[in-house]
Amino acid sequence: MLIDWFTVGAQTLNFLILVWLLKRYLYQPILDAIDDRERLIAEERADADAKRTVATQEREEFREKNEQFDKLRADLVRQATEDANVERQRLFEEARKDADALRSKRASTFDREQTRLNDEITHRTWDEAFAIARKTLSDLAGVSLDGRMNEVFTQRLRGLNGEGKTVFNQALKSSTDPAVLRSAFDLQPEQRAALQSVLNEVFGANISVRFETAPHLINGIELLAGGQKIAWCIDDYIAKLGTSIRELPAAQSDQNDDSESECQTKADTQSVSVAEAQ
């Protein structure tokens, strides 16, 4: 018989035992391991999702911050550019003002120097002119310059008339102080007496006069009384001489221009002649 019932029972028992053993040592551990791994993977995925969410948020924040930073940087650059332009303009204006100040200072210095030079020329001219005049008068006429000045002033006093004479006469009379006669040189007693007599004669009264010597007058005589003055000095001539000296460079410049143009014309003529000759 092919079926042995003891074997059937034994095999049934063996199979049931095998089912139990495999459930215990095969299926359950493997399924538990798979479940644990899937749980682990699920946790890791959840963790990764959370991290990705956080990363996305951080990326957005970073992007926003980046945009803000770019905007801020652009604003700062624009502001800096504007400030630099303003500063440049200010520095430029300052430099221009400094240059103007320097130029005006230089101009004023130049003017002062020119004035000083003119003054010096004037003084030297005075000195030379007087020296020449004295020498000339002494050599040709045998008179001194001072005496001649005195004579001229006396003539001017004698020639005084009209309103000027009236006004000065009133000034003499109204003044309590004596009239002052200043001269650049010391008057001799006879010259003083002559002047006193002329004054008395002209104004018809005994005029009280105080004689003073004032070197700043530089070859001149003046009479002061009650705020009025009668004077003669060489300043007018010297002023005319200074004016003519100052005009001298301009005249020379014009003359140079004319001579240059003449030279140019001459040169052109010569070049034309040369061209015709060729």
């Binding site: 092919l2 079926i3 042995d4 019932w5 003891f6 074997t7 059937v8 029972g9 034994a10 095999q11 049934t12 063996n14 199979f15 049931l16 035992i17 095998l18 089912v19 139990w20 053993l21 495999l22 459930k23 040592y25 095969l26 299926y27 551990p29 493997i30 399924l31 538990d32 391991a33 798979i34 644990d36 791994r37 682990l40």
Partner: protein, 226 residues
């Protein structure tokens, strides 16, 4: 010539005996349990694992997937029984490549025992799923007239399970034995390879049929059919 390892008697005392079927079954059980124990003793929960663990995981998940595809929605309940059926038959078949080993499934006693287990397991799972009354009611559906036919169907399919597996396994061993006497060199090797294929197919058929029977007895398949 031995038709079955039952005829290999190592020890006998009256009704009790220790034949080749039982001894080879014990060897199979020992190999399967010890191997499982050795591999599952150090399981890795990480992404890196040994190739043996991967093999067992493929096996277990493959069986689980097959059970689920048959229509059983909770395959882990049936995994122990159906998986052991498949593994036992398959490993017994694979053992035929070892000289001197005779598969216990080549014994009609073993196949009858396995068929009886299925015969008992089907109503047990059916009753567990839908109760005794609900399960018994399936025998008189659609009419009471169908009751004897349903009972005969249960008995015949159990017998068919046993005889199909026994016939295939025994015939394979028989063919190899006969061919060894005729052409002892090349042809038995080819037939052994074919026998391996046949045995694995039989293991698949046996376990899948058992799964189908269990699925038919449970409410799951009925719900699906509706």
């Amino acid at each position: 010539m031995r038709l079955s390892p039952d005829e290999m008697i190592f020890w006998q005392h009256g009704f009790f005996k220790l034949n080749g079927t039982i001894v080879f079954t014990w060897i199979l059980m020992l190999v399967m349990v010890v191997t499982s124990r050795l591999i599952t003793r150090t399981l890795s929960l990480g992404l890196t694992r040994t190739r043996w663990q991967s093999l067992l995981e493929i096996l277990v998940t493959g069986i689980e997937k097959q059970i689920e595809e048959v229509g059983l929605n909770q395959p882990r309940i049936y995994l122990g029984f159906l998986g052991t059926l498949f593994l036992f038959v398959a490993v017994a078949c694979l053992g035929t490549i070892i000289p001197g080993f005779e598969p216990p499934t080549g014994s009609l006693s073993t196949t009858v025992a396995l068929a009886l287990c299925v015969f008992v397991a089907v109503p047990l799972y059916g009753i567990r799923d839908q109760g005794l009354k609900g399960y018994l009611k399936t025998y008189i559906e659609p009419t009471v007239i169908m009751l004897p036919f349903n009972v005969i169907s249960d008995l015949s399919r159990t017998l068919a399970l046993a005889v199909r597996l026994f016939g295939n396994m025994m015939s394979g061993a028989m063919i190899i034995g006969i061919l060894l006497t005729i052409t002892p060199l090349l042809f038995p090797i080819v037939m052994t390879a074919l026998g391996l294929l046949t045995g694995l197919v039989q293991a698949y058929i046996f376990s899948i049929l058992a799964a189908v029977y269990i699925a038919a007895a449970t409410r799951t398949l009925q719900a699906k059919e509706h």
